[in-house]
Amino acid sequence: MAEVELRRISKMYERQQVVNEVSAIIAPGEFFVLVGPSGCGKSTTLRMIAGLEEISAGELLIGGKRVNEVPPSGRNISMVFQNYALYPHLTVKDNILFGLQVRKVSKQDQVKRLEHAAEMLGIAALLNRKPKELSGGQRQRVALGRAIVSQHPICLMDEPLSNLDAKLRGHMRTEIRQLQQELGITMIYVTHDQVEAMTMGDRMMVLRDGEVQQVGRPLDVYNHPANLFVAEFTGAPPMNTTQAVWRSNGAQSGVELSDDPSRRFLPLALGFGPQAGIKDGTPVVLGLRPEALQPLEPGAVADESRSLLVSVQGVEILGSETIVEFKLGDKLWKAKWNGQWPCRRGDLVRVGFALEHVSLFDSQSGKNLAITAGREKGEILRCVQ
C-alpha cells in the first residue's frame, strides 16, 4: 500500500511559517497535484514528503506508518527534480542505473529494468550519451527513467515541465500522465501552472501562503471554487470578478454592481440569497467565468436581468476562439467565445449568462457563498463515446 497521508504538516523557517497545517490523504495510484503561485510552499511540502526537509510539526504517514524520522531512501519514494538532477559526468545509462547500483540491485535485474524503461521512454538510442548532449525533453525522459527503474510505488515531481518549451510541455503532460497510469504509481506533482493541474491531476490541492485553499477533483474546483483566490487562480483567462452589494427586497433579490457608474442591478434567482443567508446590503464579489459570458444576437429578446450591455475594449482572435475584453465598472472583464468574432473596439455588444454560472463570494473573507447553498448537482458530464 502506498497511501500517503499528511496530518497537519507545518514548516517553520526561523519564525516564518512557510507551510501551515496541510492535511491530505493521497490514495494509492492517484495523481495528486499541488498547485499554487510561486512561493506558496509547494516545494517545501513536497520536500517534506520526500524527507529532504524536516517536518516542523504534524505527521507524515506512508502506507499507514509514520515516517517523519525515516531518511529519504527509506520512504520508497522516487523524485524527479526541476532541473532533472542528472549527473553531468555520467552517461544516460549510468545516470539511470545510479540508484540501482547504490542499492546493489543485481546486474541482470539492472539490465532488465534499464531496457524496460528505455523502451517505455524511447531513449534506447541515447544510453551512451552525456546529459549535455541531450535536448531538454530527452533529459526530462532520462529523469523519468530513473524514477521508473527504481520501481518505487510513489513518485514526486517538482515542476518537471517548467524548463521545456510550450509545445513539448503539452506533449510531456500527456506522457507523464500515461506513464503514471501504466505503472500504477502514486504521483504527487507540484506545479504553479493551473493548466497542468487541471489536465493531469485526479485531484488537486490549491495552496496559498502555505495554507490549503481547496482540495478536489479539477473540474469540481473549477466549477465550485471554494473562494475568490481559487476562482481567480484557475482558468485561463481567470474568472472575472467585480464588487457588488447584495440587495434583497421581498420578491426580488440580486446584486447591485458597486463599481458600475450606473449601479446596474442584476436580479439573481430567489433561491440563491436566502439559503446562503446573505443579508440585504452585504458587500459581495460577483464572479463569472469568461466562457460563461456568451454573446446574444442583437435581434434576440434579451433577458435584461441575465445580460449586460457592454462596450468592447479589446479583442483577441485566437483562431478557434475569440477573447473579448470590456470594462465593467473599473474592472476589465474577458469573455471567451468559440469561433472568430470580428468585433472592434467601441462596439456595443450584449453578453448573456446563465444563472448557475454566477459565483458570489464574501467580499471580506473571499469565501464562496454559494458552496454552502448546496450546489452539489454539478456532476461532470460523461464523455459520450
Binding site: 559526468h89 545510479f98 547504490v102
Partner: protein, 295 residues
C-alpha cells in the same frame, strides 16, 4: 573590396587595443626570455669581461655539477611532498568548510589566513617555531622527551620542515578553489543521491570528486609550479643549507646569478627549469584532460 577594407579596419582596431599590453609583454616577457635563451649559450661569468659564445658548454657543465643534481632531486622531493598533500588537504578542508554551515565564514577565514600572510612573514613565524631549544616546536617536543631536535640545522630534517611549512601555507589557498568548485555542484545532485540512499563515501567517490576534477587539475598545476617558484623562505630560513640539503632549483639559480655571478650558467639553469615546468603542464593538460568532465 569593401568587405576586405572593413575586415582590415576591424583588425587594426583589435591590434591597437592589444598594443599597450603587447608592448609590455614584448618588453618585459618575450625579450628577456629570448635574451636568457641566448645568454645560456654564452660564457658570462666574472672571469670573462665580455660574454662570448660557448655553445652548449653551460649545459654540459651543468650535467656534471653535483649540486645541480642535488638541487633538482631536492626540488622533485619537495614537489612530491607538497603537491599531493596540500591538494588533498585543501579538498578535505573545503568539504568540511562547505558542510559546517554555521560559522562558515570564520572557518574559511581561518583556513585562508596563512595565504594572505606574506611569505617572508610566514618564514619568520616558522623560523621561530623551528628554533632549536627555544622554539615553539621544541617546547612541544620536550613533552615527548625529544626537545633536542634541530629542525633546520639537520640535513635529514630540514626538507620535512620546509615541506610542512609550505603545506600549511598553501592548503588554505587551494581550498578556496575547491570551495568555489563545490558551490558549482548543484544541490539537486546531492538530494537525488540522498533519495537513493547513497552513502557519504559513494557520493564523494561518484559525484563530488569527479565533478571537482577540473579544479583538482588546475590546483595541481599551480601547486607544482609553486613548488619550483618558492624561494623566499629559503632566503630567510636556511639559505639552502645545511650543505644544500634544502636548496631548490630557483634558489640555486639565484645564487648562481647573484652570488657566483655566473650569468651564462644561471640562464642555462633557467631554461632547464622552464622546460621542465612546461613538460609537466603539458602532460597534465594533454594527457589527463580528456578524462575530465568540464561543464
Amino acid at each position: 573590396m569593401g568587405e576586405l577594407r572593413a575586415k582590415w579596419k576591424v583588425n587594426v582596431y583589435a591590434w591597437l587595443l592589444l598594443l599597450p599590453s603587447l608592448i609590455f609583454l614584448l618588453l618585459f616577457t618575450f625579450y628577456p626570455v629570448w635574451q636568457t635563451v641566448i645568454l645560456s649559450f654564452h660564457q658570462a661569468d666574472l672571469g670573462s669581461p665580455e660574454p662570448f659564445f660557448n655553445g652548449i658548454d653551460n649545459y654540459k657543465q651543468m650535467l656534471e655539477d653535483d649540486v645541480f643534481w642535488k638541487v633538482l632531486t631536492n626540488n622533485l622531493w619537495f614537489a612530491l611532498g607538497t603537491v599531493p598533500t596540500s591538494v588533498a588537504l585543501a579538498l578535505g578542508m573545503a568539504l568540511f568548510a562547505n558542510k559546517a554551515l554555521r560559522g562558515k565564514g570564520f572557518i574559511r577565514t581561518a583556513y585562508f589566513y596563512p595565504t594572505v600572510v606574506p611569505m617572508i612573514a610566514v618564514a619568520n613565524i616558522w623560523l621561530f617555531i623551528y628554533t632549536p631549544e627555544y622554539g615553539a616546536l621544541s617546547h612541544v617536543m620536550d613533552w615527548f622527551g625529544k626537545g633536542d631536535m634541530n629542525w633546520l640545522g639537520d640535513q635529514s630534517n630540514v626538507m620535512w620542515a620546509m615541506i610542512f611549512m609550505v603545506i600549511w601555507k598553501e592548503a588554505g589557498y587551494f581550498m578556496i578553489f575547491y570551495l568555489a568548485g563545490l558551490q558549482n555542484i548543484s544541490q539537486e545532485l546531492y538530494e537525488s543521491a540522498a533519495m537513493e540512499g547513497a552513502s557519504a563515501w559513494t557520493v564523494f567517490r561518484r559525484v563530488t570528486f569527479p565533478l571537482l576534477m577540473p579544479t583538482t587539475m588546475f590546483v595541481s598545476i599551480i601547486a607544482f609550479t609553486n613548488s619550483f617558484k618558492l624561494v623566499d623562505h629559503l632566503v630567510i630560513m636556511t639559505k639552502g643549507g645545511p650543505d644544500n640539503a634544502s636548496n631548490l632549483l630557483l634558489y640555486y639559480i639565484y645564487e648562481t646569478a647573484f652570488s657566483f655571478w655566473d650569468q651564462g650558467m644561471a640562464s642555462a639553469l633557467t631554461i632547464v627549469m622552464v622546460v621542465l615546468l612546461l613538460a609537466v603542464a603539458a602532460v597534465q593538460f594533454f594527457g589527463l584532460d580528456k578524462k575530465i568532465h568540464y561543464n
